[in-house]
Structure formats: C-alpha cells, structure tokens
Amino acid sequence: MEPAIYLDNNATTRVDPEVVAAMLPFFTEHFGNASSMHGFGTAAGAGLARARTQIQALLGAAHDHEVVFTSGGSESDTAAILSALAAYPERREIVTSAVEHPAVLSLCQYLAKQEGYRLHVIPVDERGRLDLEAYREALSERVAVVSIMWANNETGTLFPVEQLAEMAHALDIPFHTDAVQVVGKLPLKLADSAIDMLSLSGHKLHGPKGIGALYIKRGTRFRPLIRGGHQERGRRAGTENVPGIVGLGRAAELALAGLTDENTRVRALRDRLEQGLLARIDHCFVTGDVDNRLPNTANLAFEFIEGEAILLLLNREGVAASSGSACTSGSLEPSHVMRAMGIPYTAAHGATRFSLSRETTEAEIDRVVAVLPGIVERLRSLSPYWNAAEGTTKTFEPAYA
C-alpha cells in the first residue's frame, strides 16, 4: 500500500518534529516546577514565559498575560462560559449557535436544562451562515455571555465574530469565541477586536494533545474554573504542563511562519481537490459557505451513499478523512451541523470532510481525486436509491419509512 494520506487535520494534526524537539528537554533536564525558587524552576519558568509570548504573537494580542494555559479546547470553552455566568449572576440567558462544537453546545444545553438558563441557539442558513437578525434579537441586558465559534470544524465556514463581538459589546455582554479551528490557519489581531475571550487547542496546529489556552482580554471579569495554587496568576490552578506548553508555544511560532503557505498553497490544493471531485462525480456538492471559509477544509456531500462506507473504502486506499454521517459516530443521526444547514438526508449521510495541512502535497490530492470516483460509483451500485441506468434516483419506499 502507498504511504497513508492524512486528510483529517481538523480532527487532529501530526505533532511537528520541531515541536517534539523543543519539548524533550522539559521532560528531563528542565523538569522543575516553575514555582520553585531554584535553578530547575527558573528554567521551567523561562519556557512558560517564552511560550506565552509565542501565543501572544500568533493571536496578535496586546499583552502576553492575556494568555492562560489550559488542558485544551474543551476546558477553555468551559472556563470561559462558566466564568461569565459566575461574573454576571443576575443575567440568566446565554446566546450560542446551532453548529457549535459539543464542547460548547452540550455545556449550554446542560446549563439550560439543569440550571434553568434561557438558551438562544442562533440558526444558520443552508450555506451555514449565521442568521444575523436572530442574533440581534437575542441580545439583551439579560444575556450573561455570547459563545459563538469562529470557524466551523465540519465545513470550515467562518462566522463574522469580530462584528458579532461589537454587537454584544454595545449591550455590555461578554463575548467568547471557540477559535480552535482558526488559530494557526488565519492571521489574527485580537488587540484590535472586541472579542473578550477566545479558545485554542494545541493539537489542531501540530502541537501536542491535552494542551490549549484561553485568551482573556485585559479587563475582562474572570472567575476561575479550577481554584488552588496561584499558577496562571490565579486564573487556572495546577502545576503547569511545562513540556506541553513549550510545545504549544513552538507550534504557534511555526504556524505563524506558515500562515502564508496555508492561505496560498494549501488553499489551492483544497480547491484542486474540490474541483477535481466535482468534475468527476455527479450528484455531489460542497457544503458550507464556499466563499468564506478556512483555507484547508473541504466538505463534500455525496448523495445516496453513506459516509462510513466511503471512509472504509478510502481507508483501504490509504486515505484518512472523516464524515458527518451517523454511523461513524455511533450516534444514529447525521451531524447536527448538517442538520442545522438543512442538508437533505439523502446527502447528509454521505457528507465527507477532507481537511488539509501544511504537510499535504499535490501528489496526495491527485491520488484522492483518482480513487474517490470509483469508490462512490461502487457504493452507488449497491444503493437501492441509485439507478445506474438513468444516473439518478428511483422510487424506493420501504415498508417502514
């Protein structure tokens, strides 16, 4: 078999060997506790300080102390939302979107159900664009926090979060964004934005898993999720994961250097993939806001076939991708993102995501374009909904439907 082609970088990325190299000394030589008053502690502390400025640079943040290290995207999301609720106890409403990652959506639904918060879930249209009118209407002085993602992990669709943050600020509502998929892929300048809090995760940008950060704009009221020692200026207790933080810092530095490549070469490869597939495969379309999305993400819905079957056959060809189909997750419904966009079931089950990275090559893309049409054809020939002779669907209405 040919070497594996990894096109699932929105799920996680390979840790860059340079990141690993930067981390290694912090396991063995500089193993100290950053809080300690001796040389071992000093070395660890220096590692933390450097990483903080590396993240600051990637985010375009005004101050390095606006960066708080956490265990990853999910913790950052949780800390941000719960902090705002604790800081504004008299406000009993939360605004979010229908296509958030479960790290935000499940938490918000839990808060609505168990804690009695009123939840505004802003819908999206068929291209995955946020309903700005509904958003405007949901904002009021009763809202404790807005949490809306910057880029969607399934389709790559970008929300205008800087504008959304300004709208929230006009009513003095704290604004949080889950930017886990954006950080490292697009240039950012948080110093000039109204965003109060932002989540990022190391393993999405060729850094290690289990490390992330929450950006908290200077002056934002913050209530810690984890109390204890005085680490992270009391905003996140617990002895720091120094090797992880150092790795995240180095990953941020490499991502910043790679931003141009990401937005030129990687974007062109993504477009080549999409156009190649669209030209060779009927009854398939790109989901999401095509003109306004991450440069690395392509999500194509193949009608009348099911995503897990596509992935299994792709995997046999050495291609790793992912799917919004029900079967791949063990849930029984296709992804909430596809459903929120109103993608018909005939296509939602066959939605397949290819997410590229700076490591992706043209030869890899061409290989996918070469093998996928055969896979789709093969599955369609098995499908009762597909009529090969007419190249379309036929009536098929089973006993229980």
């Binding site: 897990e308 079957a309 995997n315 029984l332 020939s381 209405e397 089973p398």
Partner: protein
C-alpha cells in the same frame, strides 16, 4: 473507527449477491434514507419445493449494513422458505463473527427485510403487515411495536439503551422513551412467565428495573436461549393453497367439530415431537387462532418457530382453511 471482525470486512469489501434480481418472486424493503440505512432484498423461489434459488440485495448504509445484507443472502440461498424464516438477527450477527453493539440494528434490518420478502412472496399485503405489526413507537425511525417485540425477544434485551442499539428506536428525539419502556416491560414480563428470562434481569416499567441498576448495559452479542417466534406464525401461502383434504361437506364447522379435527391432527404430529423428547398439547381455540403448548426440547430449541409453522400447516390442512397457531401465552396476551 469501528472494530469490525474480519468476516464483516470481507463481506463489506467483497459483497456477495449485490445488485438487482430480475423478476423476483418476493421483495422486502426496510429502512429509509432518513434513517441512514435501507435494504431491499429480492428472492427467487422454486415453486416445486419452496426453496430459495437466488437472493440479491441493494443496500444504502454503513459497512456493517452492507456486510449484514451480503451475509443474509449467503445464508438463505438454498434454504426453503420455512427454513429461512428461522434465521434471526442473532444468526446474521453470529455468521459475521459478531457486530459491535451499536451496529446490531444492521442485523435486525436484515432479519426484517427477510421477513418482509417472504411475506411479499406469500402474497400478504404489506399494509396488513403493518397493521399487524402494531402501533408505531418511534416516529423518527419508523419502528413499530412488532419489530421492537421481535428484537427484544430474539436478543433477550432488557434495557432501553440496548433496544436503541438494536433497533434505533429512541435514537433521535427520544420522546418515545416511555413507550419503549412500556413495550420492553411487557415483553420482558412475558418472557419471564415463559421461562425465557431470569426475572432479576427483566426490565420493569413500573419502578426502577433491576436490570437498569445493573452496571452492564451492553450484552455480549452471544446467542441467547430465547428463540425467535412470532414472525413465523402466519397463515402460510402454501397451507392456504393446499387442497382441502378434510374439508367437511356443508360449509362452516361447529366448534366441537373443529376442536375434534384439531385434536385429531395434533395426535398425528405428536409422535414426531415425542421422538425428539418433546410434546405438543392443545390449549385453546379462538376463531382461527389455535394456541398450543410446546414441551421439552421443542421450547428451547431455535426450531420452535419452525415447529409451530409445521403444526400450523397440518392444522390448516385438516380444517381446510388457514389458521394461526400461536404458543399458549401469546393468545392470552392478545
């Protein structure tokens, strides 16, 4: 990624009998594109001996759905219709070397498609089939009470979670959870009274069932002792078409005469049962429904539904009209 057995992978990557069967004698279609999987099973049946000569499938669905369909066709080709009817979803899963619990519904879909194809072959209208299958419990996935009952019995299910994994019912909006609990409670209670289920494991609709408190929620997909049953006890096309050998002159039977004929016919088949260490006894006659009690090895063997079907054919023949033969408890519940 799912941990599929080698057999599942083989049947997915190299599906047997995929495609359209021209001029099929029976077609069974289950599932829907909204549900995420759908299966169309087509069979060709020899008129001489009711043997399935060929079977083909078309499936929309995941790896295990395609593998289950492929395995099903391989299992039923060469079987008679009656033999095919004894194939349960457990048999399909077993044939594939097991399926992950979340994927058991794929094997249930196969068993249901087989049932539908045979009903279609026998000329039973699908609408009638649906009515008979009872009320719709899960609207999202179109799951009827009949399907739930069969899946619960065949797989000895005792929790709502496993019912969802095996049938999908309740896997979407979950508003039908109460109805699922009710069906589960009823069917488990029946199974306990039939000696098919340990009462400690049974789900109780009223109050928290012990089974729910137990830590294990995913039973091993091993073959349970409970045999499949109700799907097979239908008036058969074959039986109805047989010449009315013993039909008495002068139309309708009196009840006494009817019972006498049934007793006579049962006596004739008893030696067959006794040879295998079992027995059969008449319990009740209600219209065209005859309830019988099976004893000994017949009860637990997976052939009991087959046995009932055999009795049904004999009785239909004796009375000159199709009758329905059910195990004794079934008629009490009805």
């Amino acid at each position: 990624m799912w941990n599929y057995s080698e057999k599942v992978k083989d049947h997915f990557f190299n599906p047997r009998n995929a495609g359209v069967l021209e001029q099929p004698d029976g077609v069974g279609e289950v599932g829907s594109i909204a549900c995420g999987d759908a299966l169309k099973l087509m069979i060709k049946v020899s008129p001489a001996d009711s043997r399935i000569l060929d079977a083909r499938f078309q499936t929309f669905g995941c790896g295990s759905a395609i593998a289950s369909s492929s395995a099903l066709t391989e299992m039923i080709i060469g079987k008679t219709i009656d033999e095919a009817l004894t194939v349960t979803n457990q048999d399909i899963a077993g044939y594939l070397g097991g399926l992950p619990p979340e994927k058991m519904h794929c094997s249930v879909m196969g068993a249901e498609a087989l049932r539908a194809a045979i009903a279609n072959y026998r000329g039973e209208a699908l609408e009638a089939e649906d009515d008979e299958d009872g009320a719709l419990v899960c609207k999202c996935f179109g799951i009827t009470e009949g399907l739930l009952t069969r899946a619960i019995r065949t797989n000895a299910l005792t929790t709502v979670e496993t019912v969802t994994a095996y049938t999908k019912a309740g896997g979407s909006c979950a508003t039908c959870r109460d109805k699922i609990e009710m069906v589960l409670g009823d069917v488990n209670a029946d199974m306990v009274s039939e000696g098919l289920l340990d009462s400690a494991r049974a789900f109780r609709y009223r109050g928290r069932g012990l089974a729910e408190a137990a830590p294990v929620t995913t039973p091993a997909p091993a073959r349970p002792t409970a045999p499949a049953r109700p799907a097979q006890v239908r008036p058969s096309h074959a039986a109805a078409a047989k010449p009315a050998a013993a039909r008495p002159a002068g139309g309708a039977l009196t009840l006494v005469r009817k019972i006498a004929l049934i007793q006579e016919a049962l006596e004739a088949v008893r030696p067959t049962f006794q040879r295998d260490g079992g027995d059969v006894e008449l319990v009740d006659v209600d219209g065209d429904t005859v309830s019988v009690q099976l004893f000994g090895t017949c009860v637990d063997c997976s052939m009991s539904s087959f046995t009932l079907h055999m009795v049904q054919e004999k009785l239909s023949e004796a009375l000159g009209r199709p009758v329905r033969v059910v195990p004794a408890d079934d008629s009490l519940a009805a």
